[in-house]
C-alpha cells in the first residue's frame, strides 16, 4: 500500500445508512452518512502534510488573569514549547500573544517562520516574553492569525487558541464578526484552561472554525494536550473538504449535522453551488471517519414510487489548483410502501445519533436549568441524559454526568442533583456534552 513516490491524498468513502421506506404521505427522510478518509496524512514529511505545506499559529492568552495562579502562564509556556517541538520540519508557524490586542511573539516581524532546529530554539526562547497583562479580546487574535496564515501559500491552515477567561474587552458582535471573517480560511482548536472562561465562547469558536474544543482544568495537563493537538494537525492530509448535497425539485434540507465524533450543526453553513445543490464545510481531514445526520423533506409520492431524496458527495480541492471535484458519493433514497413493518423500522444508525443529539441537548438544557436555579428541570433533563448515555454506551459522558448528579437508576433515568459540584467537573461536562460515540456495529 505504501506509496513513496508522492504524498498520498486520502481516499474518501461514503456510506449511507437509512430506512428509505416511507408510509403513505410520508415526507421526512433521515439518513446517517459515514465519511471515511484513509491512506492520507500520516506519511507527510519534509515540512508538508500529505496534502501540501502546512501552517500553524498558536494563540496564547496573556491577559492579566493568567497570573492567577502563576501556574497557568507557566503551563501555557510549557504547552507552547511542546507544540513547537511537535511541528514537523518545514511547517510554517507563529506564536501570538493575546490580551486586549494581539501581538506576534515569534517571529516578531509578522510573518510565519519555517520550523527547523534554529527556529524552534528561537521560538522557545521567545516564550519568556509571554507575560500576563491586560484584558481579553479574542477577535483581535483571530484576525492576526488569519493575516499570518493568509500571507502564505499553504494547503493546511490551522490555529490553536488557549484562553483562561471571558472575552470581556470586545463586544460579542466583534467576536462574531471575526469568526465570520475567518470561517473557511483556517481551522482552529480552542482550549480553556482553569475554570474562569466561558464554555459557550470556546465551543462557539471551535465549532465556527471546524476545530475541537476542550477544557484543560489543570495547567499541568496543557503540554500533553497541545502535543496531541499538534500531532493531529500534522496528520491532516487535505483541507477545505466540503459535503455537497443535491436534492430534487420540491425537496428541502431540514438539517445537516455532524454527529460523530461530536455534534456540530452545519445546517446554517450552506453555500449554494449550482442548481439544487449546496455545500457544507467539513474542514481538514487526516485518517479519520465522521458521521453526518441528514434529514430531507421530499414531496409525498404514491405507494410504489421511488425517488432519490438526496445525493451526497464529498468535494475535495484539487492539489494541482484545478476545480474541486467530487471524490465519492452516496445516495439517500425514498420509497413509499403500505407495509407498516417496513415504514416503522428506524435505522439503528439514525436512532443512535438521534439519541446522541438529544443527549447533548439534554446536558446543555440541564446545566442551564441548574444554573438558573430550576432544580426540577435540571433533574429531569440530566436524568434523561444519564439514561441516554447509558443506553447508547457513551461511557465517557456517563462518567462526566456522574460527577454532577448522583445516579439512582441509570436505565430509568432517575438521578439526584449533587449538592456540591466542582466547577471544573461541570465545565468539563458542558464542554464535552457534544462528544458522541459511534454505533456498536
Amino acid at each position: 500500500m505504501a506509496n513513496f513516490a508522492k504524498p498520498s491524498v486520502p481516499q474518501f468513502s461514503v456510506d449511507v445508512y437509512q430506512n428509505e421506506y416511507l408510509p403513505v404521505g410520508g415526507r421526512d427522510v433521515d439518513a446517517v452518512v459515514t465519511v471515511t478518509a484513509t491512506g492520507g496524512g500520516t506519511s507527510g514529511a519534509g515540512g508538508v502534510t500529505a496534502g501540501g505545506p502546512a501552517g500553524v499559529v498558536i494563540m496564547v492568552d496573556c491577559s492579566g488573569s493568567m497570573d492567577y495562579p502563576p501556574a497557568k502562564m507557566e503551563g501555557a509556556r510549557a504547552a507552547t514549547a511542546a507544540a513547537v517541538d511537535t511541528l514537523r520540519d518545514g511547517t510554517s508557524f507563529a506564536v501570538v500573544a493575546g490580551n486586549h490586542v494581539a501581538t506576534p511573539v515569534y517571529p516578531a516581524h509578522g510573518r510565519l517562520a519555517v520550523a527547523g532546529a534554529r527556529t524552534r530554539a528561537e521560538a522557545k526562547e521567545s516564550l519568556a516574553r509571554l507575560t500576563p497583562d491586560g484584558g481579553t479580546a479574542i477577535g483581535t487574535w483571530l484576525r492576526l492569525a488569519d493575516a499570518l496564515l493568509g500571507g502564505e501559500d499553504l494547503a493546511i491552515r490551522h490555529a490553536v487558541l488557549l484562553t483562561d477567561g471571558r472575552n470581556e474587552h470586545e463586544s460579542p458582535e466583534a467576536l462574531r464578526a471575526a469568526l465570520d471573517a475567518c470561517a473557511g480560511r483556517f481551522t482552529c482548536d480552542a482550549r480553556g484552561v482553569g475554570t474562569d472562561w466561558e464554555v459557550k465562547e470556546v465551543t462557539g469558536i471551535a465549532s465556527a472554525l471546524l476545530g475541537s474544543a476542550d477544557i484543560v482544568a489543570d495547567p499541568a495537563g496543557l503540554a500533553a494536550d497541545f502535543t496531541a493537538m499538534m500531532e493531529n494537525v500534522m496528520g491532516k492530509g487535505v483541507a477545505d473538504v466540503t459535503l455537497r448535497l443535491w436534492t430534487p425539485v420540491g425537496a428541502e434540507l431540514v438539517f445537516v449535522k455532524q454527529v460523530a465524533p461530536s455534534v456540530v450543526d452545519l445546517t446554517g453553513r450552506r453555500a449554494d453551488t449550482g442548481p439544487r445543490a449546496g455545500e457544507y464545510p467539513t474542514g481538514s481531514w487526516g485518517d479519520e471517519s465522521r458521521d453526518y445526520h441528514v434529514r430531507v423533506r421530499v414531496p409525498a409520492n404514491a405507494v410504489g414510487q421511488e425517488m432519490l431524496a438526496a445525493r451526497v458527495s464529498l468535494i475535495v480541492p484539487d492539489p494541482a489548483g484545478g476545480d474541486a471535484r467530487p471524490v465519492s458519493q452516496g445516495l439517500i433514497r425514498a420509497v413509499w410502501t403500505h407495509d407498516v413493518a417496513m415504514t416503522t423500522t428506524i435505522n439503528p444508525q439514525v436512532a443512535h445519533y438521534t439519541g446522541q443529539a438529544e443527549l447533548a441537548d439534554a446536558i446543555q438544557e440541564g446545566l442551564d436549568a441548574r444554573k438558573s436555579g430550576d432544580r426540577d428541570g435540571a433533574t429531569a433533563k440530566l436524568g434523561r441524559a444519564v439514561q441516554l448515555a447509558a443506553a447508547s454506551g457513551n461511557a465517557d459522558t456517563a462518567k462526566l454526568l456522574s460527577k454532577v448528579v448522583d445516579v439512582v437508576d441509570a436505565a430509568a433515568g432517575t438521578v439526584r442533583l449533587k449538592a456540591k459540584v466542582a466547577e471544573a467537573d461541570e465545565m468539563t461536562l458542558e464542554t464535552r456534552s457534544t462528544k458522541t460515540v459511534r454505533v456498536k456495529r
Partner: protein, 460 residues
C-alpha cells in the same frame, strides 16, 4: 378472495375425512369422531368463488399402472379429481398430496422489500426479450401490460419530463427513479410465452421467469416454463428469483435431452435452483451488503413453480406459494389448480385446524412455509405429473396474479379463449387482469399450450 358467508349447514351425511367417514349431524360444525371441521367442506352455490378443498383429505385416486413404453409414471387426469365447478359438476381441485406436514415448520412472510440494491437483469441464460424500459413505463393509471406509454425522449425523466437521467437511474431534476429493465419483461417462444410486471405498488420487480424449448431423445419437443417470486422480506429477493429461474431453466435444458424423466428432471431443476439461491447468501450484493448472515434469517429467498410439457405429459413442480393451473380449451371441461401452496393458510386448512375462509382471513395467511434459500430448513420439492386427455393451457404464475383469480374456475374465466393460439397475448391479458385488480404485487405468468398426442400415437 371474495369468500362468502358460510351457509348454516354443511349438508354432509358423513365426515369428509377419508380416514374417518363417520356419520355426522347436519348441525355439527365439527365431526364428533375425528374433530374435522365440517364447515370447511361446504360447497358454495354455483357461481360463487369456490374455496379450495381442504387438503386434509387428499382424495387423489390411485394412478393408473405405468404404461410400458411411455415416460409417464404416477399420471393423473384432472377429471379424476373431486369437487365441482361453477356449473356444479365435478371438478378437480387437489393435486397429488405431496405437501409437508402441518404448520409446525418454519414460516416466513413475504412482506415488502429490503433496502438492498439495484435490480439485476432477469431471466435465464438467454437474452430476455424485455421491451425498452422507457416504452414499458406506465404513466399514472397503468394501461394494459405491454402497451407502450407515450414516448419520452432518450435520457429524459419519464416522471417530470424535464430533467435528464443520471448514471444511477434517477432524474437530475425531480429525483424520480426511472423504469428498469425488469419492470416489465416479455418473452415468447413457439410453444410458450411469459410476461412479468412490477405491478402498481412495488418499487421494483422481484419476480423472474425462464422459458425454454428443449427436445427429448428422439427429437420430440419439450417446453419448460419456470416462474419465481423473490421473498421481499429477505435480502436481494430480485437476485434470488433471477438465479433460481436461470438455474432451473438450465438444468431442464440439459436433463431433458438426455432422457431424464420430466418429473425427475423438474425435481433436479428445483434442487439446482435452491442451490443457486443458497449460493447467493455467500456472495456480496452489488450494494455491498456483504455475504448475508446465514443466521439472520434474511438470506436471499424465493419461491419457484415450473411446468414441463413433453410427450403428452404435463409435469409441474413447486416450492412456496407460486401456482400452476390447468385450463382446458373446452371451457365446459373443468379447470384445475395443480399445485398446493407451501403456505400457512394452506397448512392450516390441510391440518383441518381452520377452514379456508378463516385461514385466508388471518394475517399469517400469506406466510410461506417452504422456499428456496440458505435459511430454508428443509428443501421439499413437490412434483406431480398429469396426462390430460384434452387440449388446454398450463398457467404458471406468482401470487401477484392468483390473488386476483384464486380458484381454478376464476382463473379459467380470465384466460382468453384463444390462449393456446396466442399465448403471449393471453399472458398479457392475465397480467392486465391483475393490474386492473390493483396490482398489489409483482405479477408474473407463463403460459404453455398443451395438446394430447394424436390418437394412436400414444399407444395406451
Amino acid at each position: 378472495m371474495s369468500q362468502k358467508p358460510q351457509p348454516p349447514s354443511h349438508g354432509l351425511a358423513v365426515c369428509p375425512n377419508p380416514e374417518c367417514a363417520e356419520p355426522v349431524d347436519p348441525r355439527d360444525r365439527y365431526c364428533g369422531a375425528c374433530g374435522h371441521d365440517l364447515s370447511a367442506t361446504v360447497e358454495l352455490p354455483a357461481g360463487q368463488d369456490r374455496p379450495t378443498m381442504p387438503i386434509a383429505a387428499p382424495v387423489w385416486p390411485e394412478a393408473p399402472p405405468r404404461e410400458p413404453g411411455s415416460l409417464s409414471t404416477m399420471t393423473q387426469h384432472p377429471g379424476d379429481l373431486p369437487g365441482t365447478d361453477s356449473g356444479g359438476r365435478d371438478l378437480p381441485t387437489v393435486p397429488v398430496g405431496v405437501g409437508p406436514g402441518p404448520a409446525a415448520g418454519p414460516v416466513r412472510t413475504d412482506g415488502p422489500v429490503p433496502p438492498s440494491g439495484e435490480t439485476v437483469r432477469g431471466g435465464g441464460d438467454f437474452e430476455l426479450a424485455a421491451p425498452d424500459p422507457r416504452a414499458a413505463v406506465r404513466a399514472e393509471p397503468a394501461p394494459a401490460a405491454g402497451e407502450a406509454a407515450a414516448e419520452v425522449p432518450e435520457g429524459v425523466c419519464v416522471a417530470c419530463r424535464a430533467g435528464r437521467v443520471d448514471g444511477d437511474g434517477y432524474c437530475e431534476n425531480c429525483g424520480h427513479a426511472q423504469p428498469r429493465e425488469r419492470d416489465h419483461m416479455e418473452r415468447e417462444l413457439g410453444t410458450v410465452a411469459a410476461v412479468s410486471d412490477r405491478g402498481l405498488r412495488h418499487h421494483r420487480n422481484e419476480d423472474a421467469f425462464a422459458i425454454t424449448e428443449s427436445t427429448l431423445p428422439g427429437g420430440r419437443p419439450a417446453t419448460v416454463a419456470i416462474v419465481c417470486d423473490g421473498v421481499s422480506s429477505a435480502h436481494r429477493p430480485d437476485e434470488a428469483s433471477a438465479a433460481a429461474a436461470r438455474a432451473a431453466g438450465r438444468v431442464l435444458g440439459e436433463a431433458l435431452p438426455r432422457g431424464t424423466h420430466p418429473q425427475q428432471a423438474l425435481h433436479e431443476a428445483i434442487v439446482a435452483a435452491a442451490e443457486a439461491v443458497t449460493a447467493l447468501a455467500r456472495t456480496a450484493g452489488p450494494d455491498g451488503d456483504g455475504a448475508d448472515s446465514l443466521h439472520g434469517g434474511n438470506s436471499p429467498a424465493c419461491t419457484i413453480v415450473g411446468s414441463v410439457v413433453a410427450d403428452g405429459l404435463l409435469v409441474v413442480g413447486w416450492v412456496g406459494d407460486s401456482r400452476a393451473y390447468w385450463v382446458p380449451d373446452d371451457r365446459s371441461a373443468p379447470a384445475a389448480r395443480l399445485t398446493e401452496d407451501d403456505s400457512w393458510a394452506a397448512q392450516m386448512v390441510k391440518a383441518g385446524l381452520m377452514n379456508e375462509e378463516q385461514a385466508y382471513a388471518d394475517e399469517r395467511a400469506h406466510a410461506i412455509t417452504g422456499w428456496l434459500g440458505a435459511d430454508a430448513y428443509e428443501l421439499e420439492p413437490h412434483t406431480a405429473a398429469f396426462k390430460p386427455d384434452r387440449s388446454g393451457v398450463v398457467v404458471v404464475c406468482t401470487d401477484g396474479l392468483w390473488n386476483y383469480a384464486e380458484a381454478a374456475d376464476a382463473m379459467a374465466a380470465v384466460v382468453p379463449a384463444d390462449a393456446a393460439l396466442r399465448p403471449l397475448h393471453a399472458a398479457r391479458v392475465l397480467v392486465g387482469h391483475a393490474l386492473d385488480g390493483g396490482g398489489h404485487d409483482n405479477i408474473t405468468v407463463a403460459l404453455t399450450p398443451f395438446a394430447p398426442p394424436p390418437a394412436g400415437a400414444g399407444s395406451s
